[in-house]
Amino acid sequence: MNELQHIIKKAIQGNTAAQRAIYDQYATRWYMTSLRYGKNKMEAEDIFQEALINIFNRLQSFDHNRGAFTTWSTRVIINSAMTYLKKNNWSNSMAGLEDTYNTEIESETVYDKLSAKELTAHIQRLPLGYRLVFNLYAIEGFTHKEIAEQLDISIGTSKSQLFKARRELQRTLESQLTSSSNE
């Protein structure tokens, strides 16, 4: 039993110190994930809070033989985000999505000057459908099939949303780079 497993065991038993130790270790990662799924900080914090409760109450279902704790906990955060967003503004945002598919436009722009904070803000500004698909596909590594199942949409819609998300992000990036170069 490694150290993490040991602490997880303690946390399951209700040991506050162990729970805090896990939190301190992973809070930043979890919070950053939550920020990407919320449209703003307030929504992200709601997601983060619900995700925390879900993680610690489902710790006993974590099986270290089936994957890393980060993978498992990130998945819990994503599920929490989905639940939260479905509960709040899912129907309006997901309705009327165009089921069209356009070829990807690859960007050769160099974005090295942008920080993670700014990129996260870009993602937050995306419409919900774009944001979810982009997060799930580009950041988490889901396939379109998995995204379609997760969001209860068609694979084509998933691809379409991804294309539009990329295009939107590219516009934002170029606009930001332009404004920063003018300064």
């Binding site: 039993m1 150290e3 040991h6 602490i7 065991k9 303690k10 946390a11 399951i12 038993q13 209700g14 040991n15 506050t16 110190a17 162990a18 729970q19 805090r20 130790a21 939190y23 301190d24 809070a27 930043t28 990662r29 979890w30 919070y31 950053m32 920020l35 990407r36 914090e45 983060f48 809070q49 925390l52 409760i53 610690f56 109450n57 710790l59 990807e104 690859e106 960007s107 050769e108 974005y111 942008l114 920080s115 993670a116 904070k117 990129l119 996260t120 993602i123 982009f134 596909y137 580009a138 950041i139 990329r166 992000l169 590219q170």
Partner: protein
């Protein structure tokens, strides 16, 4: 995945806390969520105890009621107690509702000599039993004879009648009068009876009074010796089975199983420290197995020696957190320091010392939290010897015993995980000990036991016994047992 995806993924894969804190969640979020996290489970295994107790009470009540059906208890100590009727049942499911005084009076009437005569020269009692007048004459003339009527059995021996003669007339009259006054069926016949006593032949009156008194005495004897039940005194006499009627058997064997106190408690808290509000040490006893073989030898009716063999197996899981303010002694006892001085090295004889993580140190005055998770098993074999005193209450026996036992205990350390925290941060490498460490010791314990046995049949008993072991407390518990008289 295109370059933009890669770019975002790469830029967002750094999860280090930012200097401006934009990606660090506020403490408020933790505080809001934490109350919803799992709490230490306080397993209280009282359910088994209550089930056992309930079962015992149920069984005891069943046998108690059975006992009551064949052995009605009638209080004659208070002849005026007529308020509450007593429900009596015979084996033939006959149910009779009578007040105590009513029953008593009927019995007196049954045994009293005739009060008035029929036309054919016979006299009749209230229950229509008839006796020849000559019987009365014989009775009048022979004060030393033992009165005996058809349908009743001889009551007392001659010597006892003589002794009763010494009783004063006034006291006997009181008995008669109290009997009559409590009789709801008091009629002119009883008035006649009273007038006979007051104004008739003194010899005859004395006989009547004597008979009444004898009858009263017999009623008490019926109760004390469990002779024919009053409820069916006119029927075939029934003998109620009682412990007192049984032959005295000296040997008793038995088998039982204990519920350990540790299992009942489920946890032992180690007090609270304001700095560590969740500070608790839990001791969980699981997979307990126990078998007790008993042999009792009765020195007398009330004293017996008990011996036998007890076997206990317990799995103990000791876990939780406690905190300690470090002084030099505790540092030496807990922490494997990196000091190179000879004193420190000499102190490091404890193989359980904790090794601190790189960069961590412990100073005197630091408050550290110690996390424990230790699994061990115990096997204990004991040979007890106790002297007991018992008291019989109908079918039930209460007993108290004192003695000791010689024991052989085997402790097996299955696993031990220990770590040190400071301000919720782990500062030591988790100490982990695998299975295999065994320690065996010979023990001597004082035992105090008390309990209750119930005679299910003439030879079979069921009982509960509470036993306290000292100084080795863990076998302390409550035992359910069956005993068989040989």
């Amino acid at each position: 995945m295109n370059k933009m995806d890669d770019y975002y993924k790469k830029q967002l894969s750094d999860h280090e806390p930012a200097e401006d804190g934009w990606n660090i969640p506020s403490e408020e979020l933790w505080n809001k969520a934490q109350p919803h996290f799992p709490k230490p489970k306080k397993k209280r295994k009282y359910i088994f105890f209550f089930l056992t107790t309930g079962l015992v009470l149920l069984v005891s009540t069943y046998f108690f009621l059975q006992d009551s059906l064949v052995q009605p208890i009638i209080s004659l100590d208070n002849p005026n107690s007529t308020a509450q009727p007593t429900q009596l049942s015979t084996d033939s499911n006959r149910s009779i509702t009578k007040s105590n005084a009513q029953i008593k009076t009927e019995i007196k009437s049954d045994l009293l000599p005739p009060i008035y005569s029929n036309a054919d020269g016979h006299v009749a009692t209230q229950n229509n039993k008839t006796y020849a007048s000559t019987d009365l004459e014989t009775l009048k003339n022979d004060t030393d004879s033992t009165p005996s009527f058809s349908g009743t059995k001889p009551i007392l021996k001659k010597k006892e009648i003589v002794a009763l003669d010494n009783v004063t007339s006034s006291s006997l009259s009181k008995i008669i009068n109290s009997s009559n006054s409590s009789n709801e069926k008091t009629t002119s016949e009883s008035n006649y009876n009273a007038s006979q006593i007051n104004s008739g032949s003194k010899t005859f009156s004395r006989e009547l009074i004597t008979l009444a008194f004898i009858n009263s005495i017999e009623t008490k004897l019926l109760r004390n010796n469990h002779q024919p039940s009053i409820a069916n005194i006119n029927d075939k006499p029934q003998i109620a089975p009682t412990v007192n009627n049984l032959p005295f058997l000296r040997n008793e064997i038995g088998i039982g199983s204990s519920l350990h106190l540790l299992t009942l408690l489920g946890e032992v808290e180690n007090g609270e420290n304001p700095q560590w509000p969740d500070e608790e040490i839990f001791i969980k006893a699981g997979n307990t197995k126990n078998l007790n073989l008993h042999y009792n030898y009765f020195l007398s009716k009330n004293w017996f020696i008990s011996t036998g063999a007890y076997y206990d197996h317990l799995n103990l899981n000791i876990y939780g957190d406690t905190s300690a303010e470090m002084d030099q002694e505790s540092i030496d006892g807990i922490v494997k320091t990196n000091l190179n001085d000879g004193v420190a090295n000499n102190r490091q004889t404890n193989e359980y010392l904790m090794e601190l993580l790189p960069g961590e140190s412990v100073s005197i005055g630091d408050t550290l939290q110690v996390g424990l998770d230790v699994d061990l098993s115990l096997d204990v074999y004991q040979l007890p010897l106790l002297v007991n005193r018992k008291w019989d209450i109908k079918r039930t026996e209460l007993f108290v015993g004192l003695g000791g036992s010689i024991g052989y205990s085997v402790y097996k350390l299955k696993s031990a995980d220990i770590e040190l925290f400071r301000d919720n941060q782990l500062i030591s490498k988790p100490y982990q000990e695998g299975p295999g460490e065994v320690e065996d010791v010979l023990t001597f314990d004082f035992i105090f036991q008390t309990g209750i046995h119930y005679n299910i049949t003439n030879k079979l008993k069921f009982g509960l016994a509470g036993r306290i072991f000292m100084p080795q407390l863990f076998p302390t518990g409550i035992e359910a047992r069956f005993l068989y008289k040989l």
